[in-house]
Assembly symmetry: none
Homo-oligomer: 235 residues x 2
C-alpha cells in the first residue's frame, strides 16, 4: 500500500514517515503542493495525505489538481479547525479531514478506512480471454500453452493500461483518458509511447499480435477491450 504525504513541516513529515513505514506502508513525501502533484502522477499512491498551508500550491489546489485525473482517496491533516476550512477541503474533493494534534491510533484507523474500499473487492473475479487469465487481486497473468500455464510478466505501466481497459469491457477508452490517468493531467498528447505499450501488451497477451482480437484499436479515438462473446446472446 503506497501513501503520499505532503506537509511543509519537515518534522511532522519525518514523524509520519517513520510511523507509517513501521506499519508496512510504502511512503513518499513532498514538501510543497507542486511536488505533491508531481509525485502523485509519478507513483500513483493508494492514499494521499495533505496539509493545507503549503507553499507553491495550497492543499485545496492540490486536491483540485488530483481530482482532474484520479479518484485516489485524499486525507487532509491540518491545524485549521474551522468548519469552513473543513467544508472547503471536503467539497474540493477530500475524503476525510483530521485536525492537528491528532491521536495516531485514530489517524491509522482512518487510513485503514479510506484504503479499505480500494482493496475491498478482494474477491475480484479472474478475467479470462483467449488463453489468458488475468488475476487482478494477485496481480498475475497466466497464459495457457497446451496443458501447462506460464507466467506472463507485465511491467507496472503495462499493468495499469491493462487494468483500465479490462475494467471497461466493450467500452471505448480514449487515448486522452489513458494518458491523463496514467501519466498525469498534463499529458494530453501522445508522443508515441502509448502505441509502444500496446504493441508490448499485444505481444504478451494476444494469440496473434499482428491481428489483435482483444486489445482493439479504434482509429482516431482510442482503444477497446473486446472480451470473448458470451454464450447467451442478449439482443
Amino acid at each position: 500500500m503506497r501513501i503520499l504525504i505532503a506537509d511543509d513541516d519537515p518534522q511532522i513529515l519525518r514523524a509520519l514517515k517513520v510511523t507509517l513505514r513501521a506499519r508496512g506502508y510504502e511512503i513518499f513525501t513532498a514538501g510543497d503542493g507542486a511536488e505533491a502533484l508531481d509525485l502523485a502522477a509519478q507513483h500513483h499512491p493508494d492514499l494521499v495525505m495533505l496539509d493545507l498551508g503549503m507553499p507553491k500550491l495550497d492543499g485545496v489546489e492540490v486536491i483540485q489538481g488530483l481530482r482532474g485525473w484520479t479518484q485516489v482517496p485524499v486525507l487532509v491533516v491540518s491545524g485549521r479547525t474551522d468548519a469552513a476550512d473543513k467544508v472547503d477541503a471536503l467539497d474540493a474533493g477530500a475524503d476525510d479531514y483530521v485536525t492537528k494534534p491528532f491521536a495516531i491510533d485514530e489517524l491509522l484507523a482512518r487510513i485503514r478506512a479510506l484504503t479499505r474500499r480500494v482493496v475491498a473487492p478482494e474477491d475480484e473475479p479472474i478475467v479470462t480471454f483467449g488463453t489468458i487469465s488475468v488475476d487482478f487481486s494477485a496481480k498475475q497473468v497466466l497464459r495457457r500453452r497446451g496443458k501447462a500455464s506460464e507466467n506472463v510478466r507485465l511491467t507496472p505501466t503495462e499493468w495499469r493500461i491493462l487494468d483500465l481497459l479490462v475494467h471497461s469491457p466493450d467500452k471505448l477508452v480514449t487515448r486522452e483518458s489513458l494518458l491523463t490517468q496514467i501519466w498525469g493531467p498534463h499529458h494530453t498528447k501522445d508522443t508515441g509511447y502509448l502505441r509502444l505499450y500496446f504493441a508490448q501488451l499485444r505481444k504478451k497477451l494476444e494469440p496473434v499480435p499482428s491481428a489483435p482480437r482483444y486489445l482493439v484499436t479504434v482509429l482516431g479515438m482510442g482503444y477497446r477491450f473486446v472480451p470473448d462473446a458470451k454464450s447467451e446472446r442478449v439482443v
Copy 2:
C-alpha cells in the same frame, strides 16, 4: 439520495431529520440498532448515519451487520470522543466518525464527501432506429442483419455529426451549426465535405441510402434526425 439515521435520542433524530430534509435528502429514522438494520435492508439507503450507544444493538454491531451484505457508506455520529471508540468503529467498517457536538456545515460536507463516489457514471441509453443501434457511451454502432449483428465502423468526424443529430431528434440542425460545432467557429461555409460525410453516414446507417429515412435533408437549411414513430402516438 436516501439517508438512514439511527439514534436513540429522539431530539437529535428530529433535528437531523429536519435539517437534512431541507437539503433535499430522503430520510429514514431508526430509534435503535435492530430497527436500523431492518430499515437498511428494506430501503437500501445511500448513506447510514449511526449513533454508538443505542439499545438492542450497539452501533459497532450494526456496522458489522451491515457489512455482511452491503458496502453502503457509514457515518458514525457519537458523543464518545475516545480514540479507542473511533478506532473500533472505523475498523468495524465505518467510513467516517464525527463527535457530538458537531458543526452542521461540517457534517453536511462529510455527507457530501461520502455520497460523492456513489453516483456511478450512468450509461447513456442506447438509441435505436431501423436496424441500427447506437451506443454512445461505448462508441459503438450495431447493424442487425437477420439474426446476427455486425459492427459498423464510424470515423471520429462521423461520430460527432451523428452525435449532434441524434441528440436533437426531430429538430432542424442547420448546416452552419454543424460546421461551427465540428470544425470550429471560423468554418461557416461548406465547401462540400459536409455533404460527403452525410453520404458516408447514410451509406453505413440507412436501409436505403439513396432514400434517407432517418438522416433527412432540409433543403437550403440543414439536416434533421427523424426517429422511428413511438408506438403510442400523441397528436
